[in-house]
């Protein structure tokens, strides 16, 4: 009795064991394949996600909306105060808007007078957030736009307020955005106004740290952090956030994007910027003049004289 383990059929057990060993071999093989040829495996993953998640779209979006509404419902109790507050803010914003418009016109005029050429305007594709990474260890979201909409790997994503992340993994109808807070995210940034360069490295916390700042003394908490465009991956000048000092005395960034409410994201179409690859050569005539015999002789004679 004690040795009788459940399914006592003499034939079933060995076959089952072989099948289980086969299954384990397959899984370990899959892991090795993923480790060896990660890009291919990730493409395979993106393809599967692309097949699977949009089919849950009909349920994912309404459930998210309802949950948001329930959350919003709780704030109805103080809706009057909120309304007043918003009106006041709107009033202030109108004044600011007027100022901004005037400044913009002035700026445009000055730029025109100076013949300054700006970056080509960034166009964007807007997508709805379908799903998040589902794991507390990875920070990414899935958008409902993909290769069909012309999305490409590496493009920057904002939520209108600030940089959110970059596209990593594109399926036919979906694409994955690795958020700036993901442990695998590294973004070159500039701290303004001092212009110090650094790398924003996600570490799974709400305030990602900035590494490799050359001169720590020239930056201070409260400085604006924007993307620097180094490495040609990102367009430069996208607002990332503000510098703060973390509880561990490291310089960290409070992100401008509203990470608690990622609903619609803009994927910025980056034109691959022209890059200056090599240092300039010597300034010489493009074609060599044909050497003539007399000139050669003269030249030699002169050389001999000298």
């Amino acid at each position: 009795m004690a040795t009788d383990r459940g399914n006592s059929d003499e034939y079933v057990r060995p076959i089952r064991r072989i099948l289980v060993i086969g299954l384990l071999t397959f899984l370990v093989g899959l892991f090795l394949l993923w480790r060896i040829d990660s890009p291919r495996a990730e493409r395979f993953r993106a393809m599967l996600v692309d097949r699977f998640v949009p089919s849950m779209d009909w349920a994912l979006v309404p459930v998210t909306k309802v949950a948001d509404m329930i959350e919003g419902f709780e704030s109805y109790s103080r809706i009057y105060d909120q309304n007043q507050e918003l009106r006041r803010e709107l009033q202030q914003m109108r004044a600011w808007r007027e100022a901004a418009l005037q400044l913009e016109q002035e700026n445009a005029k000055l730029l025109d007078l100076n013949k300054v050429r700006l970056d080509p305007a960034l166009t964007y594709v807007t997508g709805v957030v379908l799903a998040d990474s589902g794991s507390p260890f990875r920070q990414s979201v899935l958008l409902n736009v993909g290769a069909r909409d012309g999305i490409m790997d590496g493009w920057a994503t904002t939520d209108g307020l600030g940089l959110v992340g970059r596209i990593s993994g594109v399926g036919q109808t979906t694409s994955r955005v690795i958020l700036l807070t993901d442990p695998g995210s590294r973004i070159p940034v500039t701290v303004q106004p001092s212009g110090q360069r650094g790398i924003l490295a996600g570490d799974n916390s709400a305030l990602p740290p900035v590494d490799f700042i050359e001169d720590i003394d020239r930056v201070r908490p409260g400085d604006r952090v924007v993307s620097s465009g180094d490495g040609g991956v990102f367009p430069a000048g996208l607002l990332v956030g503000q510098l703060v000092t973390g509880p561990d005395q490291r310089l960290r960034v409070r992100l401008s994007a509203d990470y608690e409410r990622l609903e619609f994201l803009r994927v910025l179409r980056s034109q691959s910027a022209e890059r200056i690859g090599e240092p300039g050569g010597l300034v010489v005539p493009e074609f060599e003049p044909e050497p003539r015999k007399e000139e050669d002789a003269v030249a030699q004679g002169e050389a001999g004289d000298g």
Partner: protein, 179 residues
């Protein structure tokens, strides 16, 4: 007669698949996109282990492997490794299932907790050996503890709401085979 058993099994298998789908769905909902939350328990593992210690015939290994592999793909984990860990743990528990029928629950919980700990450590060590980027060890251990803590709740849910009972000693199925 055989058809009755088969449909009975399949009904429970479909139930398991449905529950897994709901769990995965809830995890995918983009409600809390901010970082720094407490990592919740891995309910799928709890569910699989609670079921295999009660009715192993309801949760065949291929189904478990397929479900966990799907979550590997969806949750951006390394492909296959966690599934292999779960399958190993599942097989271990399945082979012990006939002995655990008359064990008290505390003992069952201890065994499951040990298995989950071993799986997590094995997973972390293999990832370290293969030099894969890992989340902080503290977070992984927190999730492991949450999973172990959630196990009794999942058992309670399965037993009370779904009527999943341990096989009593000497029970037979409709064909007279010993379960």
């Amino acid at each position: 007669m055989a058809d009755v058993i088969v449909t009975h099994n399949w009904r429970h298998r479909t139930l398991f698949l449905g529950l897994s789908f709901i769990i995965v769905f809830a995890r995918l909902l983009p409600l809390d996109t901010g970082p720094g939350q407490f990592p919740g328990p891995d309910l799928l593992v709890c569910l699989a282990f609670a079921w295999v210690l009660r009715r192993p015939d309801y949760v065949p290994v291929a189904m478990i492997a397929a479900v966990i592999l799907m979550t590997d793909i969806l949750f951006m984990r390394p492909l296959g490794l966690w599934t292999a860990c779960v399958v190993l743990g599942y097989e271990f528990l399945r082979s012990r299932e006939p002995f655990s029928r008359d064990l008290p629950f505390m003992l069952e919980w201890t065994v499951v907790g040990t298995v989950i700990t071993a799986m997590t450590l094995g997973y972390v060590i293999v990832l370290a050996v293969f030099a894969v980027d890992q989340p902080a060890l503290g977070l992984t251990l927190l999730q492991m503890l949450a999973t172990i803590a959630a196990y009794p709740l999942v058992v309670l849910f399965s037993a009370r709401l779904l009527g999943l009972k341990k096989i009593p000693p000497g029970a037979v199925d409709q064909l007279g085979h010993k379960l």
